[in-house]
């Protein structure tokens, strides 16, 4: 267990994940970008000692991309498993990141896997795979993106138990920065204070707010010897806004925290 990815627990999510896994329940994780969803899944896979197959979903993701397809190799057709099929065969965790980005018809292949049948029919080969007890399906999405066209079908959504993530409390976030990058406590405090100032601007001036991931980036730069205001400008200000006047205001917040 030496390679366990660092994860700072925010509450009872680890316990809940383990219960879901033991009882063969699929899990849906929702939360803003960079709040630790993917890291949490990686951490749990390592903790439970399971292989992890991560699929980043996108508009063009088809069912074949998940299940598998025929390929032509040396004049022969060869069936090639997709990540979902492989995870079922090996009894691992299949993690579909940003599942709402996938087309609605794609997510339908998850249905037989995500209820009590726990099977994966592969219609192109006629095979029906039964998932072993250790297989677990985890999907995540970011409810912040108000994409009216997409959105999960209720029939898909109601096959999962759901876990809501949010940015950690200030103390936990400081612990994360220290644990991830080894910065000192004072710096972690200041970075978190900047992040929380920026988070107050959500929906008003910024579309997306500073994620924990961006804070880790900033802390990494500073740890590497970068000047703090410069690091924050590169990791936070310019990443969050393209508007010059907003950027000026954000820089003022950073100056107000680090001093001139």
């Amino acid at each position: 267990m030496e390679n366990l990815p660092f994860y700072q627990s925010q509450g009872s999510e680890i316990e809940l994940f383990e219960r879901a896994w033991r009882n063969n329940l699929p899990l849906l994780i929702k939360g803003p970008t960079g709040c630790g969803k993917t890291r949490f899944v990686a951490h749990m896979a390592a903790k439970l000692n399971l292989p992890l197959y991560t699929v980043a979903c996108h508009d063009d993701l088809t069912a074949a991309d998940l299940v598998g397809r025929h390929l032509i190799v040396d004049g022969q057709t060869v069936w090639s498993d997709g990540p979902l099929t492989r995870a079922v065969r090996e009894g691992g965790i299949c993690y579909l990141d940003e599942v709402v980005e996938a087309r609605k018809d794609t997510t339908v292949v998850l249905h037989p896997l995500a209820d009590d049948r726990r099977i994966l029919p592969i219609d192109r080969t006629g095979e029906i795979l039964a998932a072993p007890p250790s297989f677990m399906l985890v999907v995540s999405y970011n409810p912040g993106y108000q994409n009216f066209l997409k959105g999960m079908k209720p029939s898909t959504r109601q096959r999962f138990i759901s876990l809501a993530f949010d940015f950690p409390s200030a103390a936990r976030e400081e612990a994360i920065l220290i644990g991830e990058t080894g910065v000192d406590e004072m710096l972690a405090k200041r970075l978190v204070s900047i992040a929380n100032a920026f988070r107050a601007l959500r929906d008003h001036d910024l579309e997306e707010v500073a994620s924990t991931r961006l804070l880790v980036y900033a802390a990494t730069l500073i740890k590497d010897g970068c000047e703090p205001t410069l690091a924050c400008q590169a990791a936070l200000v310019e990443t969050l806004t393209d508007d010059p006047e907003t950027a000026v205001a954000l820089r003022e917040v950073i100056d107000a925290t680090f001093g001139l």
């Binding site: 069912a63 601007l201 006047e245 107000a256 680090f258």
Partner: protein, 612 residues
Amino acid sequence: MEEYVGELWHKLVTRVADKQHVGAAVSLDEISKTAAIFFRALGGDAGLNLSAAPSTRHGARRGWRDRLASSGERVELSWRDGETLRLPEKIDLFTERSLNRDLYLWLVALSAADVNDSLPWIVRNQTATLATLARFPGLGSRYNRLVDALLPLRTLPSKLPSDEAAQELAIRQALQQPGSIHTLPLSKKPFQPVPLWTHPSPPVSVSNKVSTSDGAPEREQSDDKNVAKSRRKHAAERTDMPDGKDGFLMMFRAESLFSWTEYINVNRPQDEEDDIESAALAAEDMDSMTVARDGETTVAKLRFDLDLPAAGEDDAPLGEGISLPEWDYKKQVMQPDYCRLQECISPQAQPCELPPHLRRTARRLRSQFQALAPTRTWLKGQQDGEEIDLDAWVRQEADLLSGAHADSRGMYRAQVNQQRDLACLLLADLSLSTDAYASDHARVIDVIRDSLFLFSEALSATGDRFAMYGFSSLKRGNVRFNRLKSFDDRYDGLARGRIQAIKPGYYTRMGAAIRQASALLAAQPQRQRLLLLLTDGKPNDLDRYEGRYGIEDTRMALHQARQLGLRPFCVTIDNEANEYLPHLFGVGGFAVIRKPEDLPKELPLLYAQMTR
């Protein structure tokens, strides 16, 4: 002559007395956006809006130069109430521009601190200073610089009578060591204003506080509030005046002669118009500032003056009006909150069917446009895909066996959704000019109505998202934005009823309508967004919105629409349109329909061509 000498004298003495540093001045306009975001980031209430503080008399001792020029007796200090964060309109206290800017940001930071308002002024400011510095330690050096720069500007305690000197010493200590002073010594004269702190007795909260604390009857309380409101109004008026310099001159001269309100009426920036015009303008000015707050009297007067339809007959307003800016090309400035746009909806509209004379065309258009609706297709010969393209593979194998050169084309089939990711907003000109006859038996408005009908029929067949609005205007205070079908409304009998109910009226303030339409369209998630303008002539309105002014404002609005990622396109029946439309929409950005009666049929076809 007397006046001339007076003016010279005024210029002389004010220059002598003027402690302010014009070159280093920072105005609220240039910093307002930064300040607002900074305020919210520091935890300030996001619902507050930012505005300039009116100057208030401080009553403190002034130097002999100031007294001679009767300047320096007013000061702009910042304060915060339930709705607004007020900051000085401009800060030119220090010789260095950066310090003036720092003072703005410091005042913003101070106002964002959450401090108990019931504390005495001096304690409240020290507490807020401490809280702000604790949360944002980086502000410490800035604060120290400001204090260091401020102290030399204040009258030395040694030059003051003893009671004022004690007061001044306390303030100085509170500035240098916040938290160390608990009470402010009393003195006969008020203390000198402290620009680094908030207003000791802001006009608004004082009146509220008085009326609540002494338990006055409700009536009186509302009177008090009115006083506060009128004060607020003047503040707004003052910031709105473009010719600030003259205003300042006037203010000094007028101050001893007229009350504040009278002064405003005399010194309106647009004084060229004749009397009736300017009276209407005055009403309009007041309207744009105060209708929402001051209630009915102004509105009634306005209605009478400007001959708007009575409330019963008029379209029902939707929500409060929207303030929109307007571009003044002569000054090259965007005039903020210059127009008032009111979205409205026709209340008498009854659900109806398509008029009989359009049914045949509509049926044909529907079937044509259904071909544009999204379909799902298989693409062959792809490098990657769900299925093997057996035809391609067999062909390649055969080529290989026969020794021919095998080209490495893709051998997979992929399924694609050819989606039309498109939203369209149609903006129709409903000005009075559309009342003219376009042909022997139809007015322009009838042609526009038919066009709207057929356009909706065609678009509802494609499944594209669309909205339709009409617009007209009566000067800048009354831009009417008539909702026929919003993006969320269904195209049904009621929408048809609203199209049926459109009627011509008023003028064409195009810029404001385009700005509002752009805002609505930009909120749509579709990738392609088309802003379709249907008009019969140039932008024009009763006030100076005509000729170049109107054209340039419209051009600026269109430029902004393009920056939002929208695609504006104009369809017009004005035969002279070639003179000004290229300037507005660019080559290929408009179409002129020579025979107006063809418009209903042409419009859907143009749309199909544009979105194919």
